[in-house]
Amino acid sequence: MSEWWTYSLSDFLMFSTATYFRLFELQNLALWPVQVLALAAGVALFACLWLGGAQAGRAAAVVLALAWLHVAWRYFAQRYATINTGAPYFAIGFAAQSVLLFWLASRRQGARLIGPAGSLGKLALGIAFVALVGYPLLAPLGGRPWMQYELFGLAPDPTVAFTLAALLLWRAHWLLWSLPLLWGLISSATLMELDSSQAWVLLVLAVLAAGARWLAATRAHK
C-alpha cells in the first residue's frame, strides 16, 4: 500500500448496496421477536431522557451499554463480518463503548441527566425520536423493503443516534463521544459510497449533537 493516496473508500467497499441493506432483512428475520424487546427498551430509554435526573441517567446508561454490546455481537460479529473483513474491528469498538457506558452507569452522579426543558433537551429528545421512530421508516421511505428496517439495539446507526441524544443530556465527557462520532463518520462515508439517500442522516444528527454540546460547554466556561 505504498501508494495509499491513490486509494479511495470505494476500493475498500467490497459489497453492493443491495447486499448491505439485505443484512438488516436477514437479521430482522433471524432475531424475531427480539425486536419487541428492543422497541420496549427504546421506549424506556426515551422515557429516561424525558424524566431526567440521576437514577434515570444511570438506567439510560445501562440500556445503552446493553444495546451497544448487542449490536457488537449480533450485527457486527455475526452479520456484517460475513461481507466486511473490517467488521470485527467495529465489533471491538462497539464493545469498548459498551464498557464506557457501563462505567458511566456505575458512577452515582456522573450519569445525571439534565431536564428536557431547555433547547439542549429539546434537541436531544428530537434526536432520540428520530433514532426510535425515524430510523425504522428509512427503509420504506428509501424504496427498500419494510423488512430492512433498522431498529435501536439491533442496528448500529439508530443505536448511535440514541446515544448522541443521551450524551447531550448527560453533558458527557468527550471520551464518551469519540466512538459514536467516529461511527457517524464511518457509516455516512460508507452509505455515501453506496449511493444511499440516507447517508446524511447520522452525519447531520452527529453534527447537531456535537455542535450543541460544544456550544453549551463554551457558554459554561464564560
Partner: protein, 294 residues
Amino acid sequence: MLAGGAHAWAGPSLAAPGPLLTRPIPSSGERLPVVGLGSWITFNVGDDPAARANCTEVVRAFFAGGGRLIDSSPMYGSAQAVIGHALAQLKYPPSLFAADKVWIGSGARGPAQVDASRALWGVARFDLLQVHNVLAWEAHLPTLQRMKTAGRLRYVGITTSEGRRHDELVKIMTTQPLDFVQISYNVLDREVERRILPLARERNIAVIVNRPFRQGALTQALAHQPLPGWAAEIGCTSWAQVLLKFIASHPDVTCAIPATAKPAHAFENMLAARGPLPDSALRRRIVADVERLA
C-alpha cells in the same frame, strides 16, 4: 438481485454465433476463453441463501456460455465461499480454471491462507495463484513457484488494479518468472497499452484484465445510449459486449474477467467471446464513441 430470490438460468436464449474465441497461455500453450468471470463485490453476499443461489445461477450461465476462468481473492469477503458453494451445486464442472490470489503481508502466513482459500473453493488445487496487488511479492512469489514445482499449482501470477504500482509491476515482470499478470484495462483506461502489454508479450506472460467496465460505471453511463451501427458488424447486442470485445481484440490480452450479479449478463458476456473482433480502425472508433458518450 435479491428481492426476487434466485433467477434460475434456463439456458442460452441466442444461438451461439461462431466458435469460442480462445487465447493461449504463453508459458504452456493451454488455451483459455477470452472472457472469464470476476467476483469482486458481486459474489460477496455473505451467508444469504437467496443471494448465494443467485450467484450459483451466474456461475451456471457462465459455464453454459463456455466460460472457464473464475477469479477471486481472500480480499473479497465471502466471495470464495460463495464460489465454492456454487461449484458444489454444479458438481465442479471439469472445465473450471480456478484462479485465486494470496493477499497477506506476511510471507510465512501465505501457505496457510492459500490452504484456507482452497478449502473455501472446495478444489484440490488452484490452476492459478496470483500475488494480490503486489503485496509482499518478494516473499510470496518464491512460495508459489515452489508450489508449482511440486505440482500443487499450475500457474503463478501477480496482480494490480486501477493503474497502481505499474513501475513496480514492470520491475517484477522483467525480473521474475511469471505465467500471468492481471491489470486494469478498458476503453477509457488504456495506459497499460504503452508499457505493460508490450512487456507481457515480450516476456511471454498471459494477461488477465480486471475492471473491464470500470466497476459498472461504464455500462451504467452507456446504458441509455443506443448502440452505434458498427456494433452489429462485430456481433454485439449490448454495450457490455462492445467493451469486452474491445479488450479481447488487443492481441496481448488473454482473458477479461467481468463481474456480474445477473445470470443473463454472465451469459451475454460470454457471447462477447464469439464472433468477429474489432480491427484497429474500429478499435479507434470505439474509443472515440465511448469517450464522447460515456
